[in-house]
């Protein structure tokens, strides 16, 4: 789970989202018109109206919900024109390599969707917080090896690749999106594992970018690199902000990286596709129940982070 990912990426965990993102969220200027109504419309479209059958299945409604929420976020570019300098890359491939206490680790392959931007996100933690991580001791799981459940492969190339060629104008990874849209439950990641996957890939992207910017030598970064990550299964959202402070990952001492996680945020409680009828009386009409507007506000705040 997340604790294993923390050890592998030499990261300290902070619960909740960082104060910058929370302040973006609370600022009323960063809201769309009729925001709640629009988000309800998007959820209803994805969960209720999307198909000729009675109820759409998760593999359809999860991407549709994501696209609708992204469309709503993109509408903010009327207010903040620099938001148009973002590009969404689907099916992109990442490769990053690092060594952790004499174990060589790699992150590779297709994972989710990446939103790139022209400008990087400014560092979230202050210098004092970064230095304070030096005293933090990483949890170990003795006697379980930290590489348990990881795939052991013989890969001969130690590759570090951002997924794009040089000269790409949108060169800073901004946010990764993970959609768990498999129909049956065993095919989907549990929330804990989804958070661990988000952490590993955010780390992989940040590390590959660091190696491109600052070279392959392990060192503490002057300008920490921030990559965000959002994971969802169509109803439950996980938000994460990851800051890479150091590429010196061989030892377990020294400055650590930081991650802020806000987990298990429900966007709505239940989507009733057909009305529930007991003894010929409608007890629960069709619709969306238990809508939480804060979850979309966090999604929008992460989208706007770095530009406002």
């Amino acid at each position: 789970g997340v604790r294993q990912a923390q050890w592998l990426t030499k990261t300290k965990l902070v619960e909740g989202l960082p104060p910058q993102v929370l302040s973006i969220m609370d600022n009323p200027a960063h809201q769309l018109e009729n925001q709640e109504e629009r988000v309800m419309h998007a959820i209803s479209h994805a969960r209720l109206w999307n198909t000729t059958e009675v109820a759409p299945r998760r593999q359809y409604y999860c991407p549709v919900l994501f696209e609708d929420l992204m469309h709503l976020c993109r509408l903010m570019s009327a207010k903040y024109p620099s938001l148009t300098k973002r590009m969404l890359a689907r099916n992109y491939k990442i490769a990053a390599t690092w060594e952790r206490e004499s174990i060589l680790l790699q992150v590779r392959g297709l994972n989710g969707m990446l939103m790139n931007s022209v400008a990087p996100i400014p560092p979230v933690a202050s210098k004092e917080e970064i230095l304070a991580t030096e005293e933090h001791v990483l949890e170990t799981f003795y006697p379980i090896s930290p590489t348990i459940d990881l795939q052991e492969v013989n890969v001969y190339k130690e590759l570090n690749d951002m997924g794009f060629r040089d000269g790409y104008p949108y060169s800073h990874p901004h946010t990764l999106f993970f959609l768990e849209s498999a129909n049956i439950r065993p095919d989907r990641f549990r929330p804990e594992q989804l958070r661990a996957k988000m952490l590993m890939f955010a780390f992989g992207n940040a590390l590959a970018k660091a190696k491109v910017l600052y070279g392959n030598d392990p060192k503490v970064l002057e300008q920490p690199i921030v990559v965000q990550s959002v994971g969802t299964d169509g109803q439950l959202f996980q938000f994460m902000v990851f800051q890479l402070n150091t590429t010196d990952l061989v030892s377990s001492d020294g400055i650590k990286n930081l991650v802020w996680i806000d987990s298990d945020q429900n966007l709505y409680e239940k989507a009733q596709c057909v009305p529930e009828i007991k003894k010929r009386v409608v007890t629960k009409p069709a619709g969306i129940y238990g809508f939480q507007p804060d979850t979309f506000k966090k999604f929008l705040a992460l989208y706007l982070h770095g530009t406002v």
Binding site: H45, A78, Y168
Partner: protein, 303 residues
Amino acid sequence: EPAAGAAPNLDLGELRSLACDALLQESFYQHKKRPFLYRDHDHTPGPFLTQLVSSLSSSLCGRNPLLTASSPDIKPEVNYYWHHGEEVVVHGYRKGRVDPVRFQIDDKPHLQIRIPKQLPEIVPLESDLGDVPVINHKPSKLPLFKKQYENKVFIGSKVADRCCYGHTQFHLIPDKLKRERFVRARLEDQIEVVYRANGIASLFAWTAAQAMYQGFWSEADVTRPFVSQAVVTDGKYFAFFCYQLNTLALSVETIQNNPRKNICWGTDSKPLYDVVEDGNVKGFNDEVLLHLVRFLLNRPKEV
């Protein structure tokens, strides 16, 4: 073809750079594996079209408030079912009886934008527009309409959705119908036919389904025209179509006294750019981009 939507003070340079960035990302900068067999259209033109439409519509939403209220769909289903003409049942226990010929279109546009208000009409409802060619044999003799599964009518979302009118559809020509194949088979005159057929059929199905959602059908004909637009492309060549539905009364009883006709305006396919080389787009055609922008900016006068 009528001009769709005024375009005052457009920053064409910025829109051009958005389009070029989307094109370069998909075709040049992003590392991708080789495309699957006959799936070239999913590899580059598909993502390019999605990216182009999302960036253009987000930067134009300040000018067209209808776009802010719109609902985009990615690969939605559009279905329409109707009766037209008659035939005699050939075999079976109903042999000899007269039946209406049933048609069903099941379409999957690549991208579609639906809006809460209707686009304005282009010509008045009852205008006389010329004649429609008549084909006398059964439609299943042509390589269309052979199999019919479920009779469905669907615009991309159910009736409860308030975005129940259509704005623009974007269609991608599949790999098996690409231009090089036609040129190799020396059938260049058929290239435009593919675009036109796609435009007319898809737009008819969409507008007719929208009309049916509002309660009109072949016995109760439309009281106002339904207008929608479509862009058919293979990633490089774009053809633009505009459709006005004036009548739904196509079944045998209702077509006899029906002078109204539906009409589709369309352009030939034009290239958006010449070639992508070394991170540069050569020969970018501003006219095609402007056309696309005008389509996205189209809206009723009162908005």
